[in-house]
Symmetry: D2
C-alpha cells in the first residue's frame, strides 16, 4: 500500500483527490492537513465523503508527513515550495498540484506569481507531470509539477500539430472556457452564484498565469518560442474546460490520422470521430481529454476542440495518474470511472 | 456472469444503468434495445460511454432477450407489461424501472396511467423493489417493480415515524423538489433550458402519478390508509430530489435514535447527525439516501429532510441494488462510487 | 422631484434600487453611500448601470443625507437604527430595507438578531411596509420597515385565509424556496456558484430570522398567536421566491373567489386562474406577487403557491412602492416594467 | 399610434417583442398570430405578460395584417418570404426577424437554408437592419431584414477595425458563445435543461448559417471578400452572446480611440474603458452592445470582446429600434430599460 498524505484538503482539488483516492486499491490515506480546520472531520465539511473518508483534518504541525510515501500539495501557490525539500530529503515523493514547480524560468515565475521562489534548484529538478509528454521522466521523478487545468487542455490539443510541424508557430490562438470551480473554493464575490450564474465573460485577457506555462510547454515541443494569444473565459457551469484552438496550416495533412496516431496508446486522450463536437459533460468526473479536429470550409485554419474536467484531468486525476506512474502500478488504477451524464 | 439486457436505453435511466453496469464485475451486458436508434452505437448517442460500452442499439425484434438472465425495462410506462410474461416464462428475471407493476390496485393504476393493464396477475406477483422494506421478498422474486424517484425519497423519510407510530397518519405532507432530469430525455418545451433554467415552480398539485404509489407504500407500513398531501416542484438542477416531510407528533420520542436504529444496517441510507441539512449534491451520482430529522422550536411538528439522486437511488442504482439482491451477490457491488462534489 | 439618498449601495438590494429609481420620473438621486468603495463610480461596480447612473459612491461622512426627502437603507441589519433618529429629526423620511424596525417585540428582535436595539421607541413608531395590509398607515409614516422577502411571499399567501378565518391557525406550514441572491452580495463559501449550483438544500430549519417576522404579521391578522413551521430552502437560481403554503380548512369556502376578492384592488398581487402553477420567472424583475390556490383531491388541506422576485416585491420594488405611497404619487410609478421571460 | 402586427408570437423573439412593445408609448398592438395556438390568450402561454397583453393569438387566416402599419415576422425561416409582397403591396412595412431577406446572394441563401427563395427581387430591395451601418437606408425602407444575433455581435466588434483598415482581412476569427435561448423555443433534445445545463460545447464548426451573413456584412465594409473562421458555442445560460474576436494588426493605432470615435453617437453601442471585460449580464434585457478592446502583451493580435442580449440587440430590441427609425420617432423609445443585474 502506498502511504499518502495530502496538504491542504479543504479546496476543490483536495476533495477531488479524496474522492479518487478513497477508491484506490493501493492507497492508504494517512493524513490530510488543514491549518484552519484541524480537528474537523473531513466528511463534515464534505458530506459526500461520509462512508468513505472517516478521518479529521490534521494541523500541519502534527501531520508527520515524512512517514508517507507520497505527499500531494493541494494548496495555494507558494506553500509547496516551503516544504518540499524537507520531504524529498526524507525520501518522500512530492506531487504539487499548485504552480510552484511548473515554470522552469524562475524569474518568469516570480514575475507572474509575485513572490520570490524558495528553492530554484528544485524547480530545475521537477518533472512537469503531463504523462502524454513526459511519461518516462515521471517514472523516476522525486518531484512532480502537476500541470494547470488550462495548460493541460491546450497543450494536448496543440501537441500533435506542433510535433508534426504543420502549423505556423507564431500566431497560435487558444480561446478557453472554464467552469467556475476553476476559481477554487474561495470566498470571493466574482465566484458567487449570483455573479457567475447566467453570465459569461472573458477575464485576464491582458495576461493570465497559465500563459507562460502553456508557452513553455508548446515551445519545448517545437524547440523554439511559439507565439500564443490565450483568452480565458468564465462559463456558468461547475466543472469543465473547453479549449477552442486555432492554427494556420502550413501544408496539407490528414489531421484526423495525425491525432489518432499520436494518441493511439494514450489511455486518457480520446480522439473523437471526424466532425465531432466534444462536450464538457462527456468527461465530467473522469480523467479524460476528448479532442476533435476541424478544418472549416476546407480552408487553411485548423480548429481543435479539446475538453477536460478541470478538477480531474486538469488537477486531481492527473495527479493520481502521475502517482500511478511513479509507483509502477497500472496507470489507470482508480481512474476508470465512467463520466457522469447527464 | 449475469447476462443482462436493457430495453429502452436512450433515456436518462438507460444511460445511467449503462454507467453503473459498465463497472459491475459480475455483469455481461448482452443487448440494449431501441426501436428508433437501432444500429447507432450507444456511445455515439452518449459519448460519456466511449471506452466503456462498445455495442450499438439493437432493434427490439432482434434482441433475443430470452437468453438473458435479467432484463431491465427503462421504457415509458406501458411497455414492460407487454413483454414481461414472455420473459418470465423463459426464466428471465424482470426489473421494471417504469410504473407498470408498482400499484397493486389495478383499477387505481389504470385511472392514473390512462391505459388498460395488460397483465393484472403479474401486478399481484410483482415485488415492490424498495430493499429497505422488501429485501426478503426481493431475493426470490421473478418480477420487480422498481420504485419511483419521489416515492423512494418520501417513503424512506416517513417509514421510521410510521413504523414507530409516533405521528398522525391522516395529515402527512410531502413537499418535494426534483431536478429536471426527472422529466426524462424527452423533447418537451417545459424541460428546455430556457424554460426550466433560473426558474422554480410547483406542478401536478391537483394530483401526480407518484401520489398513489407513495400512499400505497405508507399505508402498507401503517396497516391503514394514510392521508397525504404531495406537492412536487421543479428546481433548476439536473439531478437530485429533496423531500421535505411534515408530520404531527403524537408523543415524545428520540427522533434521532429512532431513525438511526431503523437504518443501522442499511448500506444505502445515511442518517445524518442531528441538526444537519442534507444537500442533493452530497449524493450526486451515488445510490444513497441521506436523511436529517428536525423538530423546529421543540414543537409537535417533525420535519424530515430526505435527499437522493433521482437517477440512482431513485431509479437505475436501486434497480442494480435489486439485481444484486436477486442474484445473491454483495448488495453494494458496483454501487460504491463516491458522490461527485462539487 | 423627490430627493433620494441610498445608504449602502453595493449589495443586490442597492443595485436593484438604482435600477428602479433610475427610471423613476419623480426621483432625483442625490447620493449613494459606501464606506469601502467611496469614490468608485457606481457603474464601474455595476456596468449594467452605465448610461443610467453616473455618480460615484460617497463616503457616509460626506453624504449630507439630511438634505434628502427620503433615505433608503440597503445596509446590513443594525446600521439603520444608528442613523434613523437623526434623519427623522431633520424631517427626512426613512425606508429601511433591513430588519431593524420590523419586529415590534424588541426583546424578540434582540434574541434573533443578536444585538441590542439602539432605538426601541422608533420601533414602536415604525410602520411595517406591506401595502396590502398597511397602506393607510404608510401614507403618513415617517419611518417604514420594509418587509423581508420570505415574509412578503408567505404573508400575502396566508392573509386571505386568515382574514376569512377558514383555516386552523395552530398548524400553518410554509415551505419556501429562495434563489441565491437572497443571501446577498457577500463573499461567503455557501453562496459560491460551485456550492449552490446544481444543488438543493434546506437551511435554518431550527429557526430563521424571518420566522418571528412572519408570525408577527400573521398573528396580527388573526388577532391571536398563530402556530407556524417555516422551512426555507436554497434553490439554484438567482432571483425568485416560491412559497408553498399548507393549511387545514375548517369549513367549506370558495377559495378562488376569496383570494380574488381580497386582492381585487391590489395593483401588485395577481391571483391566477384556478389550477395554475405560478413560476418564479413570471415575476422576474417585476414588483409582483402571483398566487394560485389548490385543494388537492378535494381534501381539507389548502395549498397556496405564492411567487415573488425577492429583490423586487421582496425588497427594492416594495420599497419604491412604499415611497410612492408616502409621497402621494401613483403607487405604480416606475414599477410597471414587464417581467423578463425567458 | 403605430398599428403593429406580429406573425408568430409563440417563440422567444415573439414574447420579447411583446415585452418591449407593451411598454412602447407609440404602439397599438393589433394582432399576434399563431396557427397552432389560435384562441389561446397570449398571457396564458406567457404569464409574465398578465396585466400587459390581454389579447389571444389569432389564426393567420383571420389576422387582417394589411390594416397594420408595420408587421414583424418572428417566424421560422421561410415564412416571411411567402407573405411579404402582399403586405408591401398593401402599404405595410415589414420587419423580418428571421433570415429570409438577409443574404443578398440568393443562391448562397438557398444553399445554406435548403429552400428555394420565393421572392428574390424583394431580397434585393430589403435593407439589412443594422442601424450602426445602415441607418439612412432604414429610414426609407419598406422591408427590413433584421440581423441575426451572432452577426450583430460580431459585426459591431469588427467594423471599426475594418473601416480603419488596420487588420488583415484574410484571417479573421470569431469565437462566439451563445445562451440557449438562441436555439429558440422548440422541443428539441439538445436544448433540454439536462442536456445543455452544466455543459459547454461548440457546434456547427463545419459551417453555421450565420457565417455567410457575417461575411457579407464584413466584406461590404471592406469592399472585398474577407476570410473568416466562425466557431459558435453553446453555454449554459439563458440569454446573452459573447463574441471574442481576433485579428492581426497591420499597423499601430490607438484602438481605444478608434472604437470610441466610431461609436460616439451610437445610442446602443457602449465602448467600455480600456482593460474591461464586458459581461453578458451587463446587457441582460437591454438593447445594448458593450465592447472592450485588448492587445495582449502588446503583440500584433487585437482581441475584441463584444456582448449583447441575443433576444434584444440580437433580435427583438433591434427590430424595435428599426421600427423607431422607420417611423421617425426617437430611436430609443421603449428601449431604455436598465439591464437586469443580478
Amino acid at each position: 500500500m502506498i502511504k499518502v498524505g495530502i496538504v491542504g484538503g479543504t479546496g476543490y482539488t483536495g476533495v477531488e483527490l479524496l474522492r479518487l483516492l478513497a477508491a484506490h486499491p493501493n492507497v492508504a490515506l494517512q493524513v490530510i492537513t488543514s491549518r484552519a480546520d484541524a480537528g474537523t472531520p473531513v466528511n463534515q465539511m464534505f458530506p459526500s465523503l461520509r462512508g468513505y473518508v472517516d478521518i479529521p483534518f490534521t494541523h500541519p504541525d502534527q501531520a508527520n508527513l515524512e512517514s508517507c510515501d507520497v505527499v500531494f500539495f493541494a494548496t495555494p501557490n507558494g506553500i509547496a515550495m516551503q516544504q518540499t525539500r524537507q520531504l524529498l530529503d526524507a525520501g518522500v515523493k512530492v506531487i504539487d498540484l499548485a504552480a510552484d514547480f511548473r515554470i522552469k524560468d524562475v524569474a518568469e515565475w516570480e514575475k507572474w506569481y509575485g513572490m520570490t521562489h524558495a528553492c530554484p534548484d528544485l524547480v530545475a529538478e521537477a518533472v512537469y507531470g503531463l504523462p502524454e509528454i513526459n511519461r518516462e521522466q515521471i517514472k523516476t521523478a522525486r518531484l512532480i509539477a502537476n500541470p494547470g487545468c488550462y495548460p493541460t487542455a491546450v497543450q494536448l490539443g496543440f501537441i500533435p500539430l506542433l510535433e508534426a510541424g504543420v502549423i505556423e508557430v507564431g500566431g497560435l490562438i487558444a480561446d478557453a472556457k472554464s467552469g467556475v470551480s476553476g476559481a477554487g473554493r474561495k470566498a470571493e464575490i466574482p465566484a458567487l452564484f449570483s455573479e457567475a450564474g447566467d453570465n459569461f465573460k472573458a477575464y485576464g485577457v491582458a495576461g493570465h498565469r497559465h500563459l507562460p506555462e502553456i508557452k513553455q510547454g508548446l515551445s519545448n515541443v517545437v524547440g523554439n518560442p511559439v507565439g500564443l494569444t490565450f483568452v480565458p473565459h468564465l462559463t456558468p457551469m461547475i466543472r469543465g474546460i473547453h479549449a477552442t484552438l486555432y492554427g494556420k496550416l502550413t501544408r496539407d495533412v490528414d489531421l484526423q490520422a495525425l491525432f489518432e496516431t499520436r494518441y493511439a496508446n494514450e489511455p486518457f486522450v480520446d480522439v473523437m470521430p471526424s466532425g465531432s463536437h466534444p462536450e464538457t459533460r462527456s468527461v465530467r468526473g473522469a480523467n479524460r481529454c476528448r479532442i476533435a479536429i476541424h478544418r472549416p470550409q476546407g480552408g487553411d485554419t485548423v480548429v481543435v476542440l479539446s475538453v477536460i474536467d478541470n478538477l480531474v484531468k486538469g488537477a486531481a486525476g492527473q495527479a493520481v495518474q502521475n502517482m500511478n506512474i511513479l509507483f509502477g502500478i497500472d496507470e489507470s488504477t482508480a481512474l476508470n470511472n465512467v463520466p457522469l451524464l447527464p
